[in-house]
Subunit: 240 residues, 2 copies
Amino acid sequence: MSAILAPLTATVFGIGAGPGDPELLTLRAATVLRSAALVIAPRATPEQDSVVLAIVREYVPSGCEILEAVFPMSDDFGQRASAAAGAADLLAAAAREGRAAVMVTLGDAMTYSTWGYVLRELSTRHVDVPVETVPGVTSFAAAAARLGEPLAEGSDPLLVWPATLPGDLAELLALAPNVVALKVGRTLEALVDAAREAGARVAAVRRLGMQGERVAEDAADLLGGKADYLTTAIVHKEKR
Amino acid sequence: MSAILAPLTATVFGIGAGPGDPELLTLRAATVLRSAALVIAPRATPEQDSVVLAIVREYVPSGCEILEAVFPMSDDFGQRASAAAGAADLLAAAAREGRAAVMVTLGDAMTYSTWGYVLRELSTRHVDVPVETVPGVTSFAAAAARLGEPLAEGSDPLLVWPATLPGDLAELLALAPNVVALKVGRTLEALVDAAREAGARVAAVRRLGMQGERVAEDAADLLGGKADYLTTAIVHKEKR
């Protein structure tokens, strides 16, 4: 193809689609999705539907190509890098054909998101392709709104912990009286116990804005039910 | 007025309007604003225009009453409580007249936001008035998107620090290799120095999505200019 006939390279977008409720997409995200020619949505296993695809589907135009790409939740660096490289190649190829290519992720695009890995692949291996990241509402901001309780105020730090909390929760709370624990599935009971020992309160929300939503001002109310990966807990310790 | 003729009490909304770009409002926020009868926007001093009002103004219908309420940035608890009580009373009174009443705040409504104080006044002194909080995109999520660099990944904690950082940044970075420092005005130089000593990188954005925007992958590039309250710095320390 001669340079004159080659289409202009389109932009690749990484969109944070928010925590679950389609109304919590940003206006920018909705605008970008409405003009998308390719949408890639991550899912955890080949058997599971993509959670984020359900959020954005109503904004995706008919005729838009939709791909669900498996991003394993494991810490296997090789698996993750190969999934990210694959997604980056597909997005870049579409953009070079002049098609607006979008990757969607749950919550914010830069906060514990698969987009970060794809972005790195794009910026090292497809430097000619323009990229825009559209930030989104995090699960913990939405959880605080739903609980009606501020995440953090005044000069108090906020600590966001993405995995199993380390041994001494009381020590963390001495540094930051507000601790957000993400993806608290089977570890919720241990967290509730640790908070009780530390004299702190724990609230939790599960599947916020999705089917099966549970909102608990006292996270203990969620124990006993089926553990779910999409659970966010917020620990607050009052000052003396 | 007889009970039969009294209007239905409307909902009071607290809206996180995002970091600056009107396109980063959520769809929910835009919908609520379009039906608002009263909008209260905080400002720091009687002389300064409200930053958040400039973000939302295009979505506010003509005929909507707009009030700018002074919320002093000082730590004076009494001043702040009295400003919050005043705003809560106005919002509740409007809602009882059946008018949709909205308070808008910069960033997310539950993350270091004046809405938290107003919400507390509403929930203690106006318990009959229904309230909804609409979460928003934080300044730090938007800063990371603009810088093209993830805020936090994998199992690394994220620490958000709203005021002057404490003495030992290296110690904080040992706990959380990603530290967000909010409202870094005149303290930016000290932060840049401390990060250099700790072997960490600092990026910063100033007035993101607003007039006078500055984006610096190396925060040192912002030194020497006029300090601005609306500056967000992101410190990353690579693992060894």
